[in-house]
Symmetry: D2
Subunit: 364 residues, 4 copies
């Protein structure tokens, strides 16, 4: 597995820098004969693209995707799909300060220390712009899931916390999620968040967030044991998203506080199907799906690009200060939600193909 590649059977390799001419990815292992057009990908990219509200970066990128290979007469052929997204709004400005100074909380210092060179323009390879490729690849993964398990799998996400403000889970309403700029399932919280985040934005500050991603309609038996566990791969997937610092499945960190009686989901049958009385496990036991919803949460740290002046060092090793101006997100976690969904889709679709390899076709 390469550093820029994710997945085993269904896999994708991303490339490109924030202010280069384009970014993109190559998606391999796609089953043939799946209907696919650029629009199928574009709808997901549009949910992630910046500049859609005042709470995300004001960079204006149409994020228009082009498919350069792997389809013929609007169907996949089994050959690799090459997707390209041109960078349009990569402002040519003076990068002097970022070029020499290391922004605290950024990868500037570590990239320079590792490689001895760094494309500092807009964050280069370390920019969250790379996640557009993930969302594009995720759109393909959704198509793969739907081609093998038609109409069953649904992947959705929501922000359940922004900075110090959490939702009230009793207010959860899926239909609210698309109605506010925060992917917030709690209408009351969404209203409060607008004011809260507006202040953060005006202060030139930023806050973190927690995103929950839920996959429904997953058959029992997906995932592999030991080092191919579906929860282990989801942890890797989510933690690989820029700025993520924690990942939980089901009860997550709170499982530590529970007793065995509280934690283990009791089982029963209904119309001949095995059911669970609760879902503390988050839909995964022994790395393999139970058939319940797969529930994953991840925490995104506040973007480190803030207006406040911060102490740092420069390339020469001299101490200095830095204040990041520019078009940054007061809560970068908002745009991470579609990325989390994409990574969920990619893990599930890959596991589905791996399941077919070892076990054969799944019956539904």
């Amino acid at each position: 597995m390469s550093v820029n590649k994710f997945g085993r059977i269904l896999n994708f390799t991303t490339w490109g820098e924030s202010h280069g001419s384009a970014i993109g990815c190559v998606i391999d292992g796609v089953p043939p004969l799946i209907n696919l057009s650029e629009e199928d990908i574009q709808i997901w990219l549009d949910r992630r693209k910046p500049g859609q509200s005042r709470f995300t970066s004001q960079r204006k990128e149409p994020d228009k995707v082009e498919i350069l290979s792997g389809i013929f007469e609007n169907k996949t052929t089994g050959a690799p799909l090459s997707l390209v997204i041109k960078n349009i709004d990569a402002r040519s400005r003076d990068y002097g300060e970022i070029a020499d100074k290391y922004r605290p909380g950024h990868a500037d210092y570590t990239y320079d220390a590792k490689y001895g060179i760094r494309d500092y323009r807009g964050g280069g390879r370390s920019s969250a712009r790379e996640t557009a490729s993930r969302v594009a690849a995720g759109a393909i993964a959704r198509k793969v899931l739907d081609s093998i398990i038609p109409g069953k799998v649904k992947i959705r996400s929501a922000l359940i916390q922004i900075g110090s403000q959490s939702i009230n889970r009793e207010h959860w309403d899926d239909s609210e999620i698309e109605k506010n700029p925060f992917w917030c399932p709690d209408a009351v919280a969404a209203k409060n968040w607008a004011g809260y985040l507006e202040k953060i934005r005006k202060d030139g500050s930023s806050v973190g967030a927690i995103i929950e991603v839920i996959a429904s309609g997953i058959p029992v038996g997906l995932g592999e044991p030991i080092y191919g566990k579906i929860d282990s791969e989801l942890a890797m997937a989510m933690m690989s998203i820029n700025a993520v610092k924690g990942v939980e499945v089901g009860e997550g960190m709170a499982a530590a506080s529970l007793t065995g009686e509280e934690n283990a989901d009791e089982m029963y049958t209904e119309s001949g199907l095995v059911k669970f009385k609760s879902n503390k496990s988050g839909g995964v036991l022994g790395g393999i799906t139970t058939g319940q919803d797969i529930v994953v949460r991840f925490a995104v740290k506040p973007t480190s690009s803030i207006l406040s002046e911060r102490k740092t060092v420069d390339k020469s090793g001299a101490e200095t200060k830095i204040s990041t101006k520019g078009r940054h997100d007061p809560c970068v976690g908002i745009r991470a939600a579609p990325v989390g969904e994409a990574m969920m889709a990619l893990v599930l679709a890959d596991q589905l193909l791996r399941h077919r390899a070892q076990i054969g076709n799944i019956d539904f």
Copy 2:
């Protein structure tokens, strides 16, 4: 990457079931000319083995490791190391109940659903017994780290929470960790935990735990971007350990509540070296090490093998009840600490070799 294999350059493949004749692993990619004996591995296995206090499983396994290949005159040759640990205390008893009934919170149901067959004896392949192989492989990883960065890297772990009981971080004393059966760094907490866990044990119940693993002496620049991030691989590594439900790096889930000002670690220089005023990042920025301590936490759920009767279903789909008797851990998280250390060592050693591949030797 196979399901039973972990790592890219330095990698290992584990095999074996809980009640089979033996378990073991093959470790590949080991640099040549490293001094190695069975004792170098045994010392780490001895820290994980069961039956060392009344707070862990009473199964009596000497966990004696044999090296079958890959060394010559007590040095590694670059060929794969085959390690074998015989299963001694795999009691031949009546497995009738477990054979047919699915234990809630266990992988019994999901393995059967996936494979159509399940080695139910002692949990078979899904048993935490597999982690002995990880600890053995981890011992090799420590040797690799020490051969390339002599005397620098130190990996330690501690339990910071058992059930509802947390440590007081102000009491943290590394020297306490080995003095109590809980790897607890807080002498006061350790004392309380003894009584707390004794009650849990007597009740036939169980609780979860949070383990913190810390690696010191790590050079700046280890780790790779995007899908090879060191924190992403640590998340995968820890989540792959049996019963783990959450993983955090640095501030972890709490990073969501912070502002950008609070979160980004300011930088300065000291004797010409770059230093950080805090370590909210947990030693990783952009997937690459900062040179600070790498700090990872993971939550282990309570073992689902409890005395209390629980509702479940059997293989035929009929509803039934189950009560798990036998030699189980009131807090399986205790034995996860040495496993977490091993996984940390394995990720770091692999990344060190991968760094050499792309960049060349590291200077220290």
Copy 3:
């Protein structure tokens, strides 16, 4: 992919040295519910083992295989199979000469140059003894093929040349192959070879051989394009066998001399099935099987362990001479035939599982 691992979905990792305590392998990705016993593997190992005629090494190894994991009630479980073969007849003798001097045509010098250390006892890791693990893994691959395509696939091999002596293809009779110690399909040639090779053996010399491996009953559509071509993987597989210097598919090197008219196999239909008038392609077009026999040939060089004194150098760089005594094969190519079959089975079974992953179940 590790150095000691072969295959993607169905894969195996070998370990062990010629004169260590044991050799073995771990086979991963095996579908569950396949009937398997040690005897299923032993029958193939018995065909490869040394000391069966005066034309192969006189080392006496029973090559008794043990399965340590991955089966339950005589069925595979989907967990990794660990196979171990003890080394019995690893004579403890004085290795002084081999320890210091580099045998021409052997890997002694290159291993030392690469690793700075070498287990010289019986060739260590570079010994053809490693191929016993391949044959054991190949037995599993045959089981996998037979479980998915019951009763169809047949893999056989034959020596078509020993030293300067070729068979007459018009004499080819499959039933002769098992009747002589050379796997020779031509009864007349076999008779001549006995005398020819007896002289080589008595002279303390050795000769090379060409082995042909044929797989029948293969469905059309196996194999993958570009870098996953089935012929490309067969080339890698055969060339990885000790002492192999050339690999051909179908017409092989002779294809260079043909015209397009001579080379391209014309197609027709018979009972609704697509057929070919010839098989110049060796059953592979564009890396994908045509449904015809897959025909691969490979050349094994003469073993370099010969009685004649040869000029060489020692570890100190001094010029010297060496004469290899001991139990070596006058034509090591004989024992390569079962190994070639095993590698064919392993490539085909792996490709079959990979096909299921991307395309779904194959209909037959």
Copy 4:
């Protein structure tokens, strides 16, 4: 390893169809700080491109490469390089015949059988056009080799046989290779080939070829044992090139005829360096380089696109005939020479980085 990906540490993934809008590749694992411009790649692409003499396809492709990512200020950054080559001369013509009929000797039938769909325009994914990406990636591999072993490694290739016509090895003159359109090292043979091939071309026929690729200046100790052997990877690499049917290293298939005395290269020392009296091994022993020239040969079959009418079947299964008109190569082997060089460079550079990973820097 994906189907469209080659290499482990230094690896590349290709995409694109013959008559799509573009082809390209993503190259990963490239060390940072290597000077790189598009010209460095273009010079190698120019050697492969069609339409340079009347003996290769008359398709007119400028094969102009663009680097979309991974360089900054003309240096590699360690991030993936995305290379794109636009397809210019993909004639929009009536593909009706090829769309329905299977060309004998082509992958038309096997692709359709496998995937149920086939981009038949110009051969789609199975076209040799894909090899332009290999040559581009090979240019990067040469840069990598030169950055680590400056000025040492030289890779060259020559055609040693076209159809029935072989060179006379005693006439070999490296300086002749670039002087004729056949990469022929024998001036006399080159002259004869012109007439020979002109007749083949006028007849609408085609012939095969044998290409020899030689790498000089390779350090001793490159390559890995067992399944990572450098000759095994070269066999896979060359056999993956379109139309290749056989691969040899050193003596190749002819090694079968030799005795042990003839085959094993004797060793001596010169100025303190180990030398060999001959190079029957082709520079590889036990999968590891000896420091001598690495010598690989591969046979390319005649292109199956010939004017002569041939029997075949169509998609419906009906028997029919086909005659391929269009711009095809009378000897496609000519254009395979630069591709063989590229694959050699890619295998060597990857092995060099893998060597650094396990062993550390190489001293020269």
